[in-house]
Symmetry: C2
Amino acid sequence: MARPDQIRFRRSTLGEDVYEALKGLVLEHSLSPGDRINIDALAREFAVSPTPIREALARLEADGLVRKRPLVGYTVSPLLTRAEFDAMFEMRSLLECTSARWAAERADAAHREAVSAEAATTVAPQEDDPDGWHAAFTALDARFHDLVAEASGNGLLRDGIDRLHAHLHLHRRYFPYAQASATVEEHRRIAAAIQAADPDGAEAAMREHLARARERHLAAFD
Amino acid sequence: MARPDQIRFRRSTLGEDVYEALKGLVLEHSLSPGDRINIDALAREFAVSPTPIREALARLEADGLVRKRPLVGYTVSPLLTRAEFDAMFEMRSLLECTSARWAAERADAAHREAVSAEAATTVAPQEDDPDGWHAAFTALDARFHDLVAEASGNGLLRDGIDRLHAHLHLHRRYFPYAQASATVEEHRRIAAAIQAADPDGAEAAMREHLARARERHLAAFD
DNA sequence: CCATGAAATATCCTATAGGATCCACGATGA
DNA sequence: TCATCGTGGATCCTATAGGATATTTCATGG
């Protein structure tokens, strides 16, 4: 039985779509930190009215990705200062180490398997499209950490980690291509500890992973 | 030199005010968990247009205090389930114990003093106005924990704790009047450890405080 | 040459109106 | 008696227009 080509399933609302699109623009630095955001211009660009734009911006502000000055306008949140960068990794370490520990302690077989599977996947380096590679690798990293957080069994912890991960994008765009394999290897070690139900090992592996990731990103401050 | 009676200092915008007002209504259960929220009715009540209401609701949704079903409307987030309650206190323990530890390790004299001062203040029981007493005590508790978080020196940690504290209000309204003094005493012990620059002591005191607070609130599930 | 003040502009903020969708109620048929 | 379908009402969602404010620019005086 042939189905109509286009069923209007609009599960999400316009404001929702705008939020996702806008978030993507900020995270991939199509809107650079510090840029002013013109509501009317965005409305024209997305072909919607300013109202859903305002709604999306309000949510993004709660996420800390944009800032609002009354009667002046929205701006993309500025680049992280060194102090904010340190605070973020301190917080990530606190949250994610516990996430890994709990995942090792509590996760069921399906979650452990999902974590291991994600850690096993790789993205092929694409010399001709560094931006695409960067995006793919970033997405891979985000998925892995989110899967671990999901396996921890605490939804609030998962939300907090996700929120922090978004802040990571407010850092200067920098990608240590040469060390991508190191990241993957660290992920594998975490996944193995979780698979083996070794809380201490999982926490330690995550702690080392974050410490190294911090070092890698630190180079961007030069 | 006489100044005009009314300088329109409107630092905050309308949407901001609505957000604060609405948040207050939710936190004090003037809007009960599960209640539907009629945007137009709220707009009439606050004497503003629906737009700032929508903006405030979008932010409250990001905070997790209200939920939105597309093309249906907003509702106040439902009461915490037992599992969510446990997850929340698990998360609070993780965040606040570290908060207390870092405050003891790093805070400057002014912050330590502020924490101690807040721990020393009390609210007089008001038999004739239990709601007012409850509100005052809740505010006191929130201020104390926020001051400790501020003293920890990590703004992200402070934000996370504040966010969680709001969720606490989604619990069934219950107040162990008889044990208010116990709470104050526990606060004093935490403050003393921070004042004495004793990280282990501060963390332990906070851990015990949260464990006891959890027990106190657990009674509301009966 | 610099500082000060006022006018012009762009933008945000708010209010109102119309279209689209979902929920509830009642009627019909098995 | 139960399930299914159609209609009415309420609500949300979107679009557009007008008022208010901050920023910028330019002219003027020191």
